[in-house]
Symmetry: C3
Subunit: 348 residues, 3 copies
């Protein structure tokens, strides 16, 4: 879609420095953008990247605006404004409301006529599907699930029995929402399946990434609150609650019955143990392991950056002998009659 | 389903303390249960949780039974009994034996008439499907696979060529059993695919989680023994053997040709290297890395709990200088003429 | 398929030590192979494994050839030759060129008549599919995607809009190539989706594992170069570039905008942070975390091998007090008037 800079400025409340009749039809990085493309500068720290750009216009903040060699759209939050401009320039393909001839929809499904049910979708008894929903090809929605207005299952999603998805959610391909939680009772060394009688409740404006899995609760629902964004290949186990507007990067696993507060940001490949609570506004750096509840907002980490393998092997050897090293230190202190400045509270 | 407490006591061999004609129809947590719900107390340690429960009945052990303010079903293994009671109260929806009109079943498939083949399932030549199997919507079963009696593929499962699944297995949505193992020969810097001519053999009573993958063996089968429970997003590489009644939590990966003994319990996000053997009764704590064979039953870990990020950064700096620190300690010992109480066997 | 050893020797340029008219029809491990099976010895280090083999023939290098008790095919690269022999003995099932009656192919798709489009495949507008492609059952190919000659989507693959796959690729079941990248702008604590207008470009001879996900680029394409092999359950985030002939093991995640050079080998369950560059010929050991760019070829690691849990708990306690330990060491040095042999550059 083509827009003039003037239209963009009016629509998104930006100050325009440049020709309002100039047009753009695409977005691109600063270094690649041609005169028909719009770029953005999220952080004034990188103002040098403006040099030499040939973009048709740049979205940036007031502080950086003077440095732009091309037309500037000045925004309070350039990244957010860029997101909205890109959504306008790249509209989703038009929907085809109605049920594809090959979709199988149970008789008592409540289906808004503006929804699009794609080929080979299978929709079970008692399901309710809201306005302007997209149920992409090959998706399976089990009995009594509820899909809110404007929610899109891109393709091949699985939505289990009685799962509730809010409005404006996006479910990427291969996501599984509402498989059985992993619950087994041990009896004489063998495992007996504990029926998982809860389901999953997902709020509004939630994104669920490709091949991510959110399991049903054991007794009550697993809950994903409003505005949560889950990347790909994430595991949310039974009875978790993920607080509103939290964002979790790929390959992270959260064990059962754990609660994350609001606005948590969790990096990739993180592990979070079960039955703990993280308060609001916790940030967990990628590849860390959270084993205890966190009651203080802040940034947490246990990531270990790699070294050349020979160096690392030597460090690991030292780590494995740390106990011995500490004991030698204590012995040496005693030998020299030195009373440590810092008393170490541990038993040695 | 509604049951009297008397019926439950008889069926599951519990002592009932309470009115045998009272009825329950659901399960719930102790704190949430109303008078029509049955709850359980797995561990006498948490006996305080019985206080104030309004459950219709509680399943618990003899030690805790006196503390229940409501009707009690006394069981030797309350969790296992609870699992069975829940399975009774929440029966699976009735099956619809037969082949859905949209399912594609090759001509020479051996199909028990009591099995249910769901919509858009695709079943290849030479497949055998046992009694009361469920092949859920969108599942693909390749040529010559065998599915044992009472096994359920919930939806969108993939079962590769010649894979054998035992009886009473449950395969959650999106699981892939029998993709090619990851085998390549390197020739002058490029990779040549090594055909994976093995398949996968899965025993009885196995659960395979959502989007979990179990690869075909290179030459012989990858083997999942009886009673194994695999959570979601797990990778079992080619030629692994997972011992009977082992349970593995989500996001764990096991590299090729590794053998786990019986009754291993592996936490979430664990990595286990290839070509090693773990004996029976090994427990691996979540997020650990097993790099060597284990020949002694026990609990193993290399998990690193997170700290506030600034604190952690300082610790990492110390870890990276451990070699220097150890050398300084040795020098200091020499300087003071101190002969360490504990001789450290390492070369310094 | 049955072949004589003479035919194999001629076809693959091996020296044959044995009867050229002897036949084999299968491959097997040295220890299991019977007289109709061919085995291989990749590494002369394991020459002892030849003892007692009953294989019909063994593929090995010149150095080991004298030790074979059975017929020997002498090859410069026994593993690569074995791969080719196995491919010959176990041919893929014959293709059925054409479009299955249940496949849905948009009107303007360009489809080579030698391609096979399987049941319940859904192929969008503007897609181009090359010669001898296989689009397996339940696969979804979105608008304007391009699939190169001889590429096989085994089953249930998802290929997003405008994704380009080269020739001779293999996509295992459940893989998702071209879901939205994980891009959101934060505005007052909530997340606004940033449209991901790039797609994915995949080179020739690439393997993409089961349930692996490769996301679309934010502005430009995510790129997987020629000859890359990706195992199962891998995450490649938006705007990554994976250099030619790299191989990545299962459960590894690579964050956005990171570039791997050529011939990188990345172990399983590795995390690689975003916006960094690894040069050519980097090897990352399994479960490591790469947080910084690497400019020197070599082997890198931060893996921590497990210990018995009690021992490990004590080590973790020591790690957490490393800062205090270092300070005590410094104080002790001062107390004894000892000037350390190695000055530690850190602030204490």
């Amino acid at each position: 879609m083509t827009m003039t800079l003037g239209e963009l400025a009016v629509r998104f409340g930006c100050e325009l420095r440049g020709d309002p009749s100039a047009t753009v039809d695409s977005v691109a990085p600063l270094s690649q953008a041609g005169p028909r493309a719009i770029a953005f500068l999220a952080n004034p720290k990188y103002v040098d990247q403006l040099k030499g750009t040939r973009a048709g216009a740049v979205i940036l903040d007031a502080k950086s605006a003077g440095s732009s060699p091309v037309a500037a759209l000045v925004a309070a939050n350039p990244h957010a404004t860029f997101a909205r401009v890109a959504a306008l320039l790249y509209p989703d393909p038009p929907m085809n409301p109605g049920v594809h001839a090959t979709a199988l929809v149970a008789r008592d499904v409540t289906l808004d006529p503006s929804a699009e049910i794609g080929p080979y979708a299978v929709i079970g008894a008692g399901v309710r599907i809201g306005a302007r929903c997209l149920v992409g090809p090959g998706s399976v929605i089990e009995r009594n699930a509820v899909i809110g207005d404007d929610t899109k299952l891109v393709a091949r999603a699985y939505v289990g029995p009685s799962v509730r998805l809010g409005a404006r959610c996006v479910v990427q391909p291969g996501a599984v929402i509402g498989a059985d939680g992993f619950g087994f009772a041990n009896e004489k060394g063998a495992w007996i399946k504990v029926p998982q009688v809860g389901s999953v409740t997902v709020g509004d404006d939630v994104e669920i990434g490709a091949n991510t899995t959110v399991d049903c609760g054991a007794l009550e629902d697993t809950v994903i609150e409003d505005g949560v964004k889950l990347d790909n290949l994430i595991m949310i186990a039974h009875n978790c609650r993920i607080g509103a507007h939290s964002a979790i990067a790929a390959c992270t696993g959260i064990a059962g019955s754990t609660t994350l507060g609001k606005r948590n940001i969790v990096g990739g490949r993180v592990g979070i143990t079960g039955h703990i609570t993280l308060c609001d506004d916790v940030i967990v750096l990628g590849t860390s392991f959270i084993s205890n509840s966190i009651s203080k907002p802040g940034v947490y980490s246990s990531s270990l950056p790699a070294e050349e393998a020979g160096v690392w092997r030597r460090i690991v050897g030292r780590i494995k002998r740390l106990d011995s090293m500490a004991k030698r230190q204590r012995a040496l202190e005693k030998h020299t009659g030195f009373s440590a400045l810092e008393q170490d509270s541990s038993e040695d």
